[in-house]
Amino acid sequence: MRILFSFFAVIALVLSAYAGVKIANLQFLFGVVIPYIAITIFTLGFVYRVLKWGSSPVPFRIPTTCGQQKSLPWIKQNRIENPSSISGVIIRMALEALLFRSLFRNLKTQLKDGKLVYGEAKWLWLAGLAFHWSFLIIFVRHFRLFLQSTPSFIKTIEGLDSFLQVGVPLLYMTDIVLLGSVTYLFLRRVFIPQVKYISLAADYFPLFLIFGIAASGVLMRYFYKVDIVGVKELAMGLVILKPVIPQGIGVIFYIHLFLICLLFAYFPLSKLMHMAGVFLSPTRNMVNNSRMVRHINPWNYPVHVHTYEEYENDFREKMKKAGIPVEKE
């Protein structure tokens, strides 16, 4: 149900793009209006969400410490997993964001019946990493469409990405990796009961969407071969705010573009915001130095306490009898 809902939602969206362009000839809507709307929603939404998180203070210093604290000088501190300085935190965050350090922690090889086996955990880490990195690379590669001349670093990336030198046009490895890892991430949601149990429609939907984007992109590049010059013209037009709709770009391009727009617009409304959230997570981005430097809670307020005076009033006689000094005889 949760799966089907998401699946058909994506199918319906694909069909609407198809119908819109092929039948109703709404190229301008799908090629210009929607992309602008999507980018606007994305930018404003993203900023809004981050500001909203930011508007709540961090009242306490609560890093999850995953190693030895800084204490006596001769005890070796784990500067990264239990950072006492900003540089430690930066490395910790970098490992987290770039290499998924915490997921990697899951990874344990075990000896089972004399063979080394890796749990599913390793695959989650690997697929997660493959997915995010290939997505990023593909994203960066697309910049050539928005720039007059292609910068050299993009060419380098393209060169590396297609170093297998197979196919015409050259096959990008990341395309395969992205499709593969998305498929894996989807399948594990379906086949691992624990994960299926916790999954929501909101978990399947982005997977289908990204699969749709990747698939339409692959179709476009390797099979339908859309008019790349036209696409670039359109993209450049969007960038310099003089939108044009060149003739003869295949409908598959519009589907691809539409799904991307959806992803952008959906992004700030959803869990995909973890991309920004990971950098704000107080259990990871804080220094464990609260015994060294006082952390301030902006809403710290005075509270009722049972004072010593009240305590002594309750127990004065008993205290005296027990030889405990008191303030008032």
Partner: protein, 538 residues
């Protein structure tokens, strides 16, 4: 109603089949006997001015909630979303990858899927989505949103009092989502409705009025300590004279009151007394700040702050220079991550310097509170203690890292250093079960009652299983730790899962090994049992 402990015939016939698959949102919590604690007593809630104070029982249908309880909870959520970035973020960014799912000892040992940390969080998240997100308001269940019904509230309560806030899940989450933090929020919400447990609210009320969880009155504290002094005299021939509430002492010593009350914590307390005496430390105990632990932490941030305030207040009143804290787990999470923020700045104290070694405790220069394991490790490193580790030769020791000190502080190697110097046989448990990956005792956050023994046993099973492993492989017979709750609960756990393993605090072993000036030849350890090799002479 709580489920009774017998199967109905139709349940029996189901055994061999998979239970019908329903989504978790549609499976209300079943209150199973022996898994939850008794409800709070009205009088205890009244003492600390908690709302909706009345006697109540989780097992009863009627929870005696106020009319507008939904409103109260939703207001409470809103308030906390505005106060805690952690809460807001953790409500939003979970991707349900499942990496944390099998990291919780309650799930591992018990197998209830709602004890997967991610699902524990989803219970609260489903409410959050319904009332605080656009998609949840519009799409409802398809967006994972749920109406806040009585069943949902009960589910929240049931599972948020089955989380020990151990933070193990947080270690494995790619975004550091910390269920302990979410559980704290959930528990705060239940406290807005007076839904606390007896085992938590009792100690909180005690601590508020009398200074410690057990409700020991001042004269009882001194006489408790007298007991220890008698025993120490029997063992060493030395009569120690500690002081209480003494103004002008250099150091205030604060430890969990459990150490004064129940074995084996009491032996640890004897260890402290012997150590400080041997050093000639200018220190004092306090009967007012006679609790290091903080059960308030298991109810609400505010309550925790109210209880914690006594430590600095007493330090100020007595005019001490700095504070040493005894062995306790959650106490140290509070001291490390909360105390200074709540009740600081402690500018009336001085930066701690060990009077014996001259070491400056740089890492505590703001809180001015030093962990006793740091203090003792420094003494040993500087050769200030005469130790005879052979006195602990009867023991084969393993080390349990407590959740809070491991994942909320990181005091891992100091106690190990001390341990290696006071005993000759020390064996680590397997790597996945110690240090930051340590398994909880299963009884933290006020779950160490007796009525929920079954929950405790299964929650502690992963821990016990690792102990069993070192017992079977190395003959380990002592489980050492720096946590009062561990000392109070691991005994029971061992009795069930790994009989013949006892439990002790670090400073009990220190006390055994410590060679004191002028002591007689020791024939007994702190438990008054014959020392290794001394049996014959007995």
């Amino acid at each position: 109603m709580a489920t009774k402990f017998t199967a109905k015939p139709d349940e029996l016939s189901k055994i061999d089949h998979k239970p019908p698959k329903k989504g978790w949102m549609d499976t209300p919590a079943e209150f199973k006997e022996h898994t939850f604690c008794w409800g709070a007593k009205g009088k205890n809630l009244n003492i600390v001015d908690f709302p909706n104070a009345r006697d109540w029982s989780p097992a009863e249908e009627d929870w005696k909630l106020p009319e507008n309880w939904q409103e109260i909870v939703l207001e409470g959520i809103k308030d906390r979303l505005g106060k805690y970035r952690s809460f807001k973020l953790f409500m939003d960014i979970c991707v349900r990858c499942g990496a944390c799912a099998d990291k919780c000892h309650f799930f591992i040992g018990g197998g209830d899927p709602k004890n997967m940390p991610v699902l524990r969080a989803e219970i609260l998240r489903s409410i959050y989505r319904k009332y605080f997100t656009a998609s949840g308001k519009m799409l409802g269940k398809i967006a994972g949103a749920r109406e806040l019904t009585l069943d949902v509230l009960k589910e929240l309560w049931y599972y948020y009092y089955q989380c020990t806030e151990c933070r193990r899940c947080s270690v494995f989450c790619p975004y550091g989502i910390d269920q302990a933090e979410i559980t704290m929020m959930g528990r705060e919400l239940t406290n807005l409705l007076g839904l606390n447990t007896d085992w938590i609210s009792g100690p909180v009320a005690n601590c508020y009025m009398k200074g410690n969880h057990l409700g020991l009155e001042p004269h009882t504290i001194t006489s408790s300590v007298e007991f220890f002094l008698d025993d120490i005299e029997t063992i060493t021939g030395i009569r120690i004279k500690p002081t209480f509430n003494r103004k002008g002492a250099e150091i205030l010593f604060v430890t969990p009151s459990g150490d004064l009350f129940a074995d084996p914590g009491t032996y640890t307390a004897m260890g402290y007394l012997m150590l400080f005496h041997e050093l000639g430390l200018d220190y004092t105990w306090s009967t007012y700040a006679s609790e290091g632990g903080n059960f308030g932490f298991f109810t609400s941030n505010e309550m925790a702050k109210r209880l914690n305030a006594k430590i600095y207040a007493e330090a100020k009143r007595l005019g001490v220079k700095w504070i040493i804290g005894g062995e306790c787990g959650h106490m140290w999470r509070v001291i490390n991550q909360y105390m200074d923020t709540w009740n600081g700045p402690a500018d009336f104290l001085e930066e701690p310097v060990s009077p014996i070694t001259g070491t400056k405790f740089e890492n505590a220069k703001s809180t001015k509170m030093v962990h006793i394991a740091e203090f003792t490790a420094d003494l040993i490193k500087n050769g200030k203690l005469k130790l005879d580790p052979a006195r602990n030769d009867r023991l084969k020791v393993t080390w349990h890292d407590s959740c809070n000190t491991a994942r909320g502080m990181g005091i891992l190697d100091e106690p190990r250093y001390v341990l290696r110097n006071v005993c000759n046989h020390f064996y680590e448990m397997p790597e996945d079960t110690i240090r930051e990956k340590t398994f909880c005792c299963g009884s933290g956050t006020g779950l160490n009652a007796s009525e929920n023994m079954e929950l405790r046993m299964r929650g502690g099973f992963p821990r016990a299983n690792a102990v069993k492993y070192v017992r079977d492989n190395y003959g380990v017979n002592m489980l050492a730790n720096i946590c009062a709750i561990d000392r109070a609960t691991l005994n029971a756990l061992m009795e069930y899962w790994a009989p013949d393993v006892s439990v002790c605090g670090l400073h009990e072993l220190v006390g055994n090994a410590l060679v004191m000036t002028g002591e007689k030849e020791r024939t007994q350890d702190l438990r008054l049992e014959p020392l290794h090799g001394k049996e014959a002479e007995e």
